[in-house]
Amino acid sequence: MNYAFRLFVTFSAGEIFELKAELNSDKKEKKKEAVKKVIASMTVGKDVSALFPDVVNCMQTDNLELKKLVYLYLMNYAKSQPDMAIMAVNTFVKDCEDPNPLIRALAVRTMGCIRVDKITEYLCEPLRKCLKDEDPYVRKTAAVCVAKLHDINAQLVEDQGFLDTLKDLISDSNPMVVANAVAALSEIAESHPNSNLLDLNPQSINKLLTALNECTEWGQIFILDCLANYTPRDDRESQSICERVTPRLSHANSAVVLSAVKVLMKFMEMLPKDLDYYGMLLKKLAPPLVTLLSAEPELQYVALRNINLIVQKRPEILKHEMKVFFVKYNDPIYVKLEKLDIMIRLASQANIAQVLAELKEYATEVDVDFVRKAVRAIGRCAIKVEQSAERCVSTLLDLIQTKVNYVVQEAIVVIKDIFRKYPNKYESVIATLCENLDSLDEPEARAAMIWIVGEYAERIDNADELLESFLEGFHDESTQVQLQLLTAIVKLFLKKPTETQELVQQVLSLATQDSDNPDLRDRGYIYWRLLSTDPVAAKEVVLAEKPLISEETDLIEPTLLDELICHIGTLASVYHKPPSAFVEGSRGVQHKRLPPRTGSNESVESPESTQPVVGQSADQPPAVIPSQGDLLGDLLNLDLGPPASTVSSGPTSTMQMGAMDLLGGGLDSLIGTSFGSPAVMPASLNAPVGGGLGDLFDLGSNVGIPCGSYVEPKTVSKYPAQCLLFSLRFSLLKYQPFISYLTISSSQVCCGICEE
């Protein structure tokens, strides 16, 4: 076979003619070798389409290998030479009648791959025969061919009644045929979301479950994915399906395992929690997930992304398995980062000592990204497990002592979050932090440090000097730092008015007169007016008590989480975004949701329902929110309406009704006023937002957010109304769980409003 290699190196245009001659040779052997050469150059991406007629001439042969090679060539080039491809049709039709099932299947398979309209017409008759062929190998190949044909010409497939034949194949006696029929139907159904192609009922489910035991691993994946779309009638049916799917957890193919996990996670939702079987199932789910982590790193990565979802939905499954997520130093970086994420999610009082020791170890590794995330993780542990906060802080201080630049900066960012969670507890460390002031060169760390100085200005003797030192290069700082500096100095002024009057004047004029940034300017003006109109009110607003940040950060919003659980094992689950977020157009996208738990008396909220959901327990998903627009409407409503006291109960359906109105009319008028004079705006916002306004005013850009899940859209600028949006976004921050959802929608909404 060495010619292939030679060819790869020295293929030249002159050789085309040589090949042509060889292809037309009388000797079979020579012909075959020539076709092989053509295929070989095709594989390395060379254009050999000029040889089309000569290769097709070799098709009529009883040599199977030669035939296969010609078919290979045809599939690649038929599209570019449709007229020539017609020459091949007769041979195809003849081959579909061949006594050898291998050739029949090969012919029907290849014909389906030739995407030329004229050929598809001739394909129908042979395909119909092959779908009813006596040989299951031919039938299973034909089933896939229907899907191919549907892709080329959907109408034709429907007119010819192939879909019904395909549905009949679900009851075929051969499990491989069943699996392929299911795969083909699922594929076709994906392009017709509303068609009732895969009409799943208890009988067909039973057939699928039987085939599941006998078909190949790939067929098992198709069947499991299809099962996941079924909604059992009651908990008993759900349990019996779970029982029959559980053995798949021991399959060697990790894709089978994950598809089985998906089915179980979904159907589990229907089982009453007090059922013995429910507890057993939980126990059974842990080992296969752990096993996935000993596979190749690529598989581990996908598994970890999915485990991240599973841990959020049902933390009890893996709560004892913390150690398998410990990072090995030769793990690829993408695996390391994912493991770290899950470690924090699993951190609890019981295992925090171990976790902290590990994290400290990681903080001395070589890879910068990983070290940063490890340091951040220590902070997240402090916020999550209150008992460990003190140890976390002392660990962070140890790390700051190492003076490694990026470690120090990362530590300061998380310590700021710890202050937000446990106010008036760890302020003794501020002195140590201040020592490192000069080494900070990243905006986030600088902003965090400035926030700390401003927040605790009364305890830092030289706070004014420190802030003043930042002020020198004000215009070179990033917006984040500028905003923070402005807020911090105003805070300082309110706390120590006598010494800092000059400083505050300076920063206000820098922000309002010398800056091009509307964010900064608007905030400067608000402070200015506030301070000049009513200093007492200013104090109340700027130094208001801040709400504590929530324990769990960057959780996925519950409805999204439920949707993603239904998509375990898919790309959506890897990116933690609903399929609709990255699939062009809405076609083919259905929001999947978990089935309701039977046995409890809660009814499923339909999106249109106006009944408020009362007494929703924490682990019960709130009503499904139909689209992002509405969700944002909800949040806006919560903020602009009367103060919502029960944030934890989540957005209720009643509120959705007026939300869009507010977004339309209500916002317009607000924007109108903000055009007039910035001073009016705080007044109009004051009533509804209350404490949240303080939050807005002294949190500033991004600093109050403990983790990276929320990214401020950068495109927003130019419009005065933008300040209002800003405030809206930040008052939304109180509702931590929704942040991840907002990141998707906020930029769109901003654009929408600006266009009006």
């Binding site: 991406g45 994906e190 752990v290 690529e298 990565y301 094992g569 062009e584």
Partner: protein, 466 residues
């Protein structure tokens, strides 16, 4: 010297390609991990699971492409190259990369990237598993899965790929079946073929393809009937500075080599099956029998295959066969460091520990080493900073030790990180979990086969922190 020049030359070309790519893909950032802007999948054009496959070597050259549907331009790989150039190491290239219209899912197998182009919402694990299967098949066919072996067998590779996937549906991935459809290349066969003019493509439908036991072909005949099992256990462990175990678990597999005539039905039983609570099986194993009786009952595939893999979880106590005494320190001044490592036996169950290799990735500032070892040889690569100490067999009377000084770049602060020691070892005739095969019974055939079980324990990812 000549070799060196060639290598240099290649690197140069590679850099050129990458920089060119960076230029025209700059507007589309490829982001690691949770990407903020994954590509938009086009749902109107459905629906091949794997649209195309590109094979790329570790210097970022595409050396094979296969399209199952329309041809996807090579330029789609630019996104891959961009991620590749960002990664510090080929192993660190993220396995899923979004592009505006496709997703690229890749695996890295023996210096070759298998990059699949995806156009619709699929299960990435499905794709990754399939790619691994492709790589294993190549390995099986050509002895190794490398760029050279693939280029030498381009046509067979193409035939195989066509046979393995049809319109995104895996068709035949069992090596037994594939070998009946497309015969693997052997020197003898290619000689015979040229003389007789016969082909290397099977003319018959593989018998196993549709039976309920697709993994076995009919009519297998051997003059010597034998069944061998290898119980291989790997210890994954992290040992901390003080020598206590942070984490340890055992990954075990049972590989079988079965050459038996006809349709034998085997039953393998264990002395202590209770150890195995987390198992995954080859499809041939009857799961029900395992559930009820804890025995492995199966009709085996012909030849070598992995019968089961298991996992003894971190909650059980795992015996750690060796201990390591280490003292690696860097002095603030003087531009030198100390290195002193000793290895000794811990829980070896009375067996000899062999094949010990210690690998240390020393910090960048280390320029060279001056060490003496009591056993075995050591090498230090000043470019990669990897120190490899090959000890071989351990003599418990006289413990192997490697000791000396490290010379370091002067004028640089001493390194913060502590290098981890990676340890390889092997213990014959021992499964460290204690797993033991009880007996093997054969039903369905009359002859008496030769039977054998071999145990071996190895270190998997076994690392000692310093």
């Amino acid at each position: 010297m000549v070799l060196f020049i060639i290598r240099f030359h290649c690197t140069f070309i590679c850099i050129f390609i990458l920089s060119k790519i960076n230029l025209h893909t700059a507007p589309h950032p490829v982001v690691l991990g949770c990407a903020p802007a994954p590509g938009t999948l086009n749902y109107t054009r459905i629906n091949t699971m794997i649209h195309s496959l590109f094979l790329i070597n570790s210097t970022a050259d595409i050396f094979l492409e296969k399209h199952w549907k329309s041809v996807v331009s090579r330029s789609v790989c630019d996104y891959f190259f961009e991620a590749f150039s960002k990664a510090s190491d080929p192993e660190n290239v993220p396995p899923v990369i979004p592009t505006p219209h496709h997703y690229l899912i890749s695996i890295f197998w023996e210096k070759t990237f298998f990059v699949a182009v995806i156009q619709n919402e699929v299960s990435p694990l499905f794709v990754i598993e399939f790619l691994h299967r492709v790589a294993e098949t190549f390995q099986d066919y050509f002895g190794e899965c490398s760029e050279t072996s693939i280029k030498d067998n381009l046509v067979i590779v193409y035939e195989l790929l066509e046979e393995m996937l049809d319109n995104g549906f895996p068709l035949a991935t069992e090596s037994n079946i594939l070998k009946e459809l497309i015969r693997p290349p052997t020197i003898l066969r290619s000689v015979v073929n040229t003389i007789t003019g016969s082909s290397n493509v099977g003319n018959m439908l593989p018998s196993g393809q549709l039976s309920s036991i697709p993994w076995r072909r009919a009519g297998v005949k051997y003059s010597n009937n034998e069944a061998y099992f290898d119980v291989i256990e790997e210890i994954d462990a992290i040992i901390d500075k003080s020598g206590s175990t942070v984490f340890a678990e055992i990954q075990g597999v049972i590989d079988a080599c079965i050459k038996l005539t006809g349709m034998p039905d085997l039953t393998l039983s264990f002395m202590n099956p209770r150890l195995l609570d987390d198992v995954s099986f080859h499809p041939c194993v009857r799961f029900k029998r395992w559930e009820s009786e804890r025995v492995l009952s199966f009709i085996p595939p012909d030849g070598t295959f992995r019968l089961m893999s298991y996992h003894v979880s971190s909650q059980n106590l795992v015996a750690i066969p060796v201990y390591v005494k280490h003292n690696i320190s860097f002095r603030e001044s003087g531009a030198s460091g100390r290195f002193d490592v000793t290895i000794g036996p811990k829980q070896t169950m009375g067996k000899t520990v062999e094949g010990i290799v210690v690998t240390v990735h020393l910090p960048k500032v280390v320029l060279n080493t001056d060490l003496t070892s009591t056993h075995g040889n050591y090498t230090f690569d000043p470019v990669t900073k990897i120190l490899v100490w090959d000890i071989g067999k351990m003599n418990p009377q006289k413990l192997p030790n490697l000791k000396g000084t490290l010379s370091m770049q002067s004028g640089v602060p001493k390194p913060e990180e502590n290098p981890s020691l990676n340890i390889q070892l092997r213990i014959q005739q021992l499964a460290i979990s204690g797993l033991k095969v009880n007996r093997l019974d054969m039903y369905g055939e009359k002859y008496k086969p030769f039977k054998g079980v071999k145990y071996v324990t190895k270190a998997g990812k076994f690392q000692v922190r310093t």
